[in-house]
């Protein structure tokens, strides 16, 4: 069964960006890899909103995260100076990894431009191997995102 498409109403977090000149390609549209940057910038705002950004900035508490999968569907075009709302949520948490859903909508037209799914793994600073997520992380996400699926053993 096909998964239900997400809409802005399914999200608690929104971050807004303008498409900058250098982000537009020779076809006059926002270049495909740029949305990956938008997702990432939005996730860091999400982490702040959820109370999870360390006081001295990302990674400063020794918790390192790497992306293990990016998946993005392009459903419309964005142009220079378009205002885009980037919606993000953590939809599930496993032992050492968790998954985000993203949706980017043109603020003026309401049209969906892209959707995406990103998987992130918590990694040990030295070994760069995956490492169980701390309980405090799960608690903060549950408070911020009541419908998150906890898939831990």
């Amino acid at each position: 069964m096909a998964e239900k498409s997400l809409s802005p109403a399914d999200f608690n977090h929104k971050f807004t960006v303008n498409v900058r000149f250098h982000e537009v390609d020779m076809l006059g549209v926002c270049y495909n890899a740029v949305y990956i940057n938008f997702f990432e910038t939005a996730r860091l705002e999400y982490i702040k909103a959820a109370g999870l950004m360390p006081a001295k900035g990302i990674f400063s508490d020794g918790n390192i995260f790497f992306i293990v999968r990016n998946e993005i569907n392009y459903r419309g075009y964005a142009y220079h100076d378009d205002i885009l709302d980037v919606y993000s949520k953590i939809s599930y948490i496993k032992n050492s990894s968790f998954g985000y859903d993203h949706l980017i909508v043109n603020q003026k037209s309401g049209k969906v431009i892209v959707d995406g799914k990103v998987v992130i793994v918590h990694v040990d600073l030295k070994s760069r191997k995956s490492k169980r997520l701390p309980e405090s992380f799960i608690e903060k996400i549950k408070a911020f995102e009541p419908f998150v699926k906890i898939l831990r053993e």
Copy 2:
């Protein structure tokens, strides 16, 4: 059934890049969106190798292409100045769209760094709607990639 992982032996086309300084992030590894650029640069070399690049450069013959889906799995890290072999192939062709498989391997260690799948659609220059791929395109790809799946109606 899980899909079989691809290896370099499954590809006819290889394009080599060095990880540049500005492509490395604050964790000291090649930034995740950069691989999307590597895929794209490799595909344009692939198109040239298959005899499909118009004489006056990309899009100059009125055939416009947009990416509709990017999918990428990160399986290792790449560092500044690493030499990476980017393998590409068109694995199927539909009416107006076609799909690529990519694999990026560290040339020195032989380790797979990322794999990915990209879907591209042929678009009408004016309407920006999808448009049936010309037969000449299919013929050239079949000559270059004998095992490509033709899924046309």
Copy 3:
């Protein structure tokens, strides 16, 4: 005689950016070329504020502009998520070209991070040769920037 350093008080226009994750390099600081993007994004906001952005977006009225010179001095470091105020002004206008001054200041510390000068030329859409700036452009800049030097023949 050395030119006097500019300070925020010398500017009428400010545009604020956050340093994004992908803009930070492996030394942990904002990558040097990124400031060129900040200058450019700030200039487009400046052009809007001065009433010079065409209704259908940049270049849509046939006035094309190219950069002929970028000059940038790095006087401090910026880090991930720093809030930077980008100050911009057109300081002189010649026959077909004009010059910007830029200053980027860390909003929290008040420290100057970079300063820069950019020269831009108005270009004919077809020939890509320089083309005299229209009077309407000069009038709007003079209204927005009363101390601009007019160096026209």
Copy 4:
């Protein structure tokens, strides 16, 4: 007195790049900040050619370098897939800083696309303050670049 323009014959080091798709802007030309990346990539090849790259990669020997000034003149356009020769040389060395000259030439037409000057400072790893360049650095540059000006006290 105006400085004499440099030509390819004035350089001992050349590094070749292709303009990639994502490096082209909506006017169809290589985006102005991209040349800063080309300069940087070329300088790292230069450092290798001069025998100055540490065995374990840039910065791995504790010698850290930051850019203090970028200066670039745009004298022509480059388009997607153009092959560009990036010429680099260290033209002078001071106590803790040194200066590069760069020239980028379209390989096919021989036309100069940009020229630039970059100033780099040697920095102490911990304090991030400028630090006298080691004699071994000067000796290697002198061997590679016999006409380098030594402006040390």
